[in-house]
């Protein structure tokens, strides 16, 4: 097991290096002078030179990169152009709100997706299975930026059941988490159904059935435990989609997380903050993928022995 983890960690290193390099290069892709874009062309030469020196853009590219890497080891990604606070501080202040929203979305998708998938597989080819399958495709096709406003319109404006925006108690979390998690519910539902149908054909299920075990024990104790294996991977892989999905969901629901921080940084052309957000979100994604692989290996001896 330790061998597997070390091997997997070593494979992650070049990926992390690539992510860091690409993020560093982002500001250099700006057409024209990034300082002009950040401060506006009317800004004084003194202000421009001062910002250029602050960001290190007056040095050769290689030196900039070396300084960037050195600062990164101290988690120093510069300062936000507007608030003047360190980018790291801005990011980690907002991180709990996004983590809360993402985990709530995953929870909702598990609660909706897995039971529906199991039910559809047990009742294969019934009208309920057809309905759930088509509903799943519809859920996958529904973009969050449409679902979000529609949920606000129905549950906040017309029915007045739930608050429309900002972070607060659990009632504030329901609409954004549902809007973010619906597509994942649909994906999990389809995966669970397909996986259960595969497992249903296995010999050990037939054995369990012929031993006279109740269908509940056969499906939930024998089949579901094995069918859930691919679900670990899907939840892990979809974490990245959820994390980037928060940019839209948080914008719609005015949720004070990384998504709104990133979006406002883009609108204000606050490039150090944009760079910092891209780097941290990507690294979170890489880290979650690593954890997913390790979790899968813990659950499945075949993977770590291969």
């Amino acid at each position: 097991m330790i061998d597997f983890i070390v091997r997997r960690l070593l494979l992650t290193l070049p990926v992390v290096f690539g992510v860091v390099t690409l993020t560093f290069l982002l500001i250099h892709l700006v057409p024209g002078d990034p300082i002009d874009i950040m401060l506006g062309e009317q800004a004084s030469v003194q202000d421009k030179d001062s910002l250029r020196a602050d960001l290190g853009l007056d040095r050769p590219l290689g030196e900039q990169y070396a300084v960037y890497l050195k600062n990164l080891t101290r988690l120093d990604l510069g300062r936000s152009l507007l608030s003047k606070r360190p980018v790291t501080e801005e990011f980690f202040n907002r991180f709990p709100a996004t983590a809360e929203l993402t985990f709530a979305a995953i929870l909702i998708s598990l609660v909706i997706g897995i039971p529906l998938g199991v039910f559809a597989a047990i009742r294969q080819y019934s009208w309920a299975d057809n309905l759930i399958s088509v509903g799943g495709l519809l859920g996958m096709s529904m973009p969050g930026f449409w679902l979000g406003p529609m949920l606000i319109l129905i549950f906040a404006v017309h029915l007045n059941w739930l608050p429309v925006s900002e972070r607060g108690g659990i009632e504030h979390l329901i609409l954004p988490a549902f809007s973010l998690g619906l597509a994942l519910s649909a994906i999990l539902m389809r995966m669970t159904r397909a996986s259960m149908l595969e497992v249903k054909k296995e010999d050990y299920i037939r054995t369990a059935q012929s031993k006279g075990l109740s269908p509940r024990v056969v499906y939930f104790k024998h089949a579901l435990r094995n069918a859930l294996m691919p679900i670990i991977t899907i939840v892990g892989l979809q974490f990245g989609a959820l994390l980037t999905g928060t940019i839209i969901t948080e914008t719609i629901f005015d949720w004070p997380g990384i998504g709104t921080l990133f979006y406002s940084a883009i609108q204000q052309r606050n490039y150090p903050l944009v760079q910092g957000c891209v780097l941290f979100i990507s690294l979170t994604y890489v880290f979650v993928n690593l954890l997913t692989d390790i979790a899968y290996a813990v659950a499945n001896p075949k993977v770590r022995l291969s």
């Binding site: 494979l11 070049p14 990926v15 690539g18 992510v19 690409l22 982002l26 500001i27 892709l29 700006v30 057409p31 057809n130 088509v134 495709l137 519809l138 996958m140 096709s141 529904m142 973009p143 930026f145 449409w146 406003p149 529609m150 606000i152 319109l153 404006v157 990245g240 989609a241 994390l243 980037t244 999905g245 940019i247 839209i248 914008t251 719609i252 990133f262 979006y263 883009i266 609108q267 490039y271 944009v274 891209v278 979100i281 990507s282 994604y285 890489v286 993928n289």
Partner: protein, 269 residues
Amino acid sequence: MTKKNLLMYIGIGIILVMFFTAIFAPILAPYNPREISLPDRFMSPSSAHWFGSDNDGSDVLSKVIYGARISISVAFTVVTISLFIGLTVGSIAGYFGGTLDQTIMRFIDMLYAFPGFLLAIALVAVLGPSIQNLIFAMCVTGWTGYARLVRGEFLHLKTREYVQSAISLGANPLRVIMVHIWPNLTGPLVVQASFGMAATIISESSLSFLGLGTPPTEPSWGGLLNAGRKFLVEAPFISIFPGLAIILLVLGFNLFGDGLRDRLDPKKN
């Protein structure tokens, strides 16, 4: 006709209707989608404006019809470019193998590790919002999925007898790849491209919704939803209809991809 086949044909039907809508937009749209008519602002759906009118007094139906052009053409361009790059790179990696394959795959793994939508947002944010930049940003990571698929298929097809015989008869690599291997990739690639169209339509609309895609002067579905968000209470129809158009088109591609994949899966036949 089985249920799966029926759903696949429904998908094809939806895609064809949307394609024709995009092609014949000037004939089908009742108004000029860019026409501003302030006295007609926020008109509810009626016989004059089937989908109502927006904050500029423009006809929402006409904007939705013209929006199909942008969504379909952007998605088609992104998928075609990504498919071409993915097919070329995946074929080289899969056919030649060895160090070249390992180098290419590590590079792909690195790009794959980036959340694609995040990178697309970041690139459009630094390059500036325009359709060209939008297409470029979505292609940067878009091709990696195709390359992985093609390389995987190559590893399997390369060992088949007919490919081995062609190689031993002295056929040059280009001929082996194009004549003997590529035709076998058509099915899986069409399935992947269909899901790719669905995902790209959502990404393009999402970027336009954030104001990072098509310019506000162009009638795009995402842009229309962004404009409609500010008037959600007084004029919900501005948001409802473009959203339904996105769902319908994405559903069409998902149904088609799903049906075709099941049809090509020997285990299910």
